[in-house]
Amino acid sequence: MRRIAAMTRSPIIIALVAMLAVAGCANRQTPNTAADLGLGGAGGAGAATPGSTQDFTVNVGDRIFFDTDSSVIRSDAQQTLRRQAQWLNQHRGYSITMEGHADERGTREYNLALGARRAASARDFLIAQGVDGNRIRTISYGKERPVAVCDNISCWSQNRRGVTVLSGAGS
């Protein structure tokens, strides 16, 4: 809960948490909260450089959310993905991994499939917006990597997500 509250306060913290959460997927030794790193307040990263992954995460938004047991791209998610596509079409050096995630209110194997369907759905939307499909790979984490750990509907909704993770040189 504490982390959710922090995320609503500061866009800088959103960016840091998001980036660190992504790093955490690759290496789970990495602490993944701003609090763990002693970050927060003004000391951290400063303004995002245009074209940087931080710029993408802070100013574009790296994640979209889904309704329960659905892979339909909602209207709010469509806005985010359109911004993502515009940005990605300007910065063609990045490769994209589209992560699909599910909340815990499903069984494990079904949720792996559901996460995959969400990732494919978001990928197809980006392609329809002109992003080269060869730049995008998808991966499903099912319910294995929740961002919000608690037990109510608002938390579960944070976990039903598609996250656009950038890699490569940029520019």
């Binding site: 069984t107 499939a113 961002v147």
Partner: protein, 438 residues
């Protein structure tokens, strides 16, 4: 690739070795009907096996714990015993055991052979009929004393219930540690009672859904160690691993066929849907069994290999379907309120266990293979993934409380009355029960 590795233990069994002739009045023998849901477990006396060290008492304790957890037996507190068994070769004083209401008595002795092996003898006595029901002895290496206890437990269970036992078995599962949003998941294996726990993977990659091969030597599971999460095969004793198949996308939800020749699993399609494939492990050829614009997953073969039960949302919400082994004639079998997933065919062939979500709860239940006779055995906040004991009488599953804590393993019998927690060092999920060991 299915060649047998060496046996885990060497146990020479001399069945019914003792002909103990006690001329006692013939009475109806003790027989427990496991199908009726025994409300009152049968009181039994498990005496300490005579032994020069503590291994005799340890064996008795393991037997006692097994029988108690089955829910069918109530081992009597040793403090209530009147007779002290000093010679397990002669009949106990049955009247002393009838007084404390012991329906059966187990006696035994452990000794060391000249070659260093352990010799374990045991007898099962029917107190009220006043006769011996079993007399057997086993020889094994000393470190296998727990297996002796499980084998004896199975013999007692089988003699008194007429059903196959399930104590000499192992569980492969996923050990979970660390915070919920950064869980470290490791393959682990242990005896069915939680003893002899050891890890089979190092925790660097997420691993999910391990399942035993019919010969118990191999595990198929899903791992994130490659670029894509995919299905792997692990030789338990050698630790040798290999990727199953050469597929472009995610493969998941693997299970062996009953003959061990194939692995059935889901393959993610480019469009985001998932279909079911069977891969022959010798020829490496794959056969597509479903081709729907839906999520088809969690396939499980019938024991004769002729049919496959699986989950699909082709009709809207996830439901359970049964099709032929070649993918033909899929029929929906679940029609209750809510969604159904994780179907697993009973080793007896008569039932399908499943997870059902309804009313914000997760339930473990069983139905007949045509979908009739649905019975819910357990309801909780979050629980799933039933796996059958080899005798088809007990299910293990995992249950997770709300909040930041983690899942634990539990068993429940088919009556739904006897639920037991399984102790593991850390949180645990995705259990799979082995067949009986050799």
């Amino acid at each position: 690739m299915m060649t047998q590795l060496r046996s885990f233990v060497t146990i020479a069994l001399l069945a019914a070795a003792f002909a103990l002739t006690a001329s006692l009045p013939a009475r109806a023998q003790l027989q427990i009907d496991v199908t009726q849901g025994v409300v009152e477990p049968v009181p039994v006396a498990i005496t300490d096996f005579l032994s020069s060290d503590d291994v005799g008492a340890n064996i008795s304790q393991v037997i006692s714990d097994n029988l108690r957890r089955s829910g069918l037996f109530a081992p009597i507190d040793r403090g209530a015993f009147i007779e002290r068994i000093s010679n397990p070769d002669v009949a106990p004083r049955f009247e002393d055991w009838r007084v404390i209401n012991a329906q059966a008595i187990v006696t035994g002795r452990v000794s060391q052979e000249a070659d260093g092996r352990l010799r374990a003898e045991f007898r099962l006595w029917d107190t009220f009929a006043g006769q011996q029901l079993i007399g057997e002895q086993f020889f094994t290496n000393r470190q296998n004393w727990r297996r002796i206890a499980h084998i004896i437990s199975d013999a007692i269970y089988e003699r008194l219930t007429g059903e196959q036992g399930y104590f000499d078995t192992r569980i492969v599962f996923v050990d979970e540690s660390g915070p919920k949003d950064q869980r470290v998941k490791r393959l682990a294996i242990m005896d069915q009672d939680g003893a002899n726990h050891r890890f089979l993977s190092d925790g660097r990659s997420i691993v999910l859904t391990p399942r035993f091969s019919p010969n118990r030597q191999e595990i198929t599971y899903m791992s994130y160690e490659g670029g894509q999460p995919q299905v792997y095969l692990l030789q338990i004793e050698t630790g040798q691993r290999e990727l199953v198949g050469n597929f472009p996308g995610m493969t998941f939800a693997p299970r062996f066929s009953p003959d061990g020749q194939r692995i059935i699993m889901s393959l993610l399609r480019q469009d985001g849907n998932s279909n079911i494939y069977a891969m022959d492990l010798r020829s490496r050829t794959t056969t597509r069994l479903t081709d729907s614009n839906a999520i088809d997953t969690s396939p499980s073969y019938s024991p004769d290999g002729q049919r496959v039960v699986f989950t699909s949302d082709r009709g809207g919400r996830t439901q359970i379907y049964v099709m032929n082994g070649d993918g033909s004639n899929p029929q929906r079998i679940s029609f209750g309120d809510g969604t159904y997933s994780t179907p697993v065919w009973s080793p007896r062939g008569d039932l399908i266990a499943f997870t059902k979500q309804t009313g914000g709860q997760f339930q473990i239940g069983v139905m007949r293979t045509d979908g009739s006779g649905e019975r819910i055995l357990s309801t909780g906040h979050l629980q799933e993934g039933p796996t059958w004991a080899p005798n088809g009488r007990v299910l293990m599953f995992f249950r997770e409380p709300s909040g930041a804590a983690g899942p634990r393993l539990h068993t429940i019998d088919l009556t739904g009355r006897n639920e037991q927690a399984i102790t593991t060092p850390n949180f645990a999920s995705d259990p799979a029960w082995s067949p009986l060991l050799d």
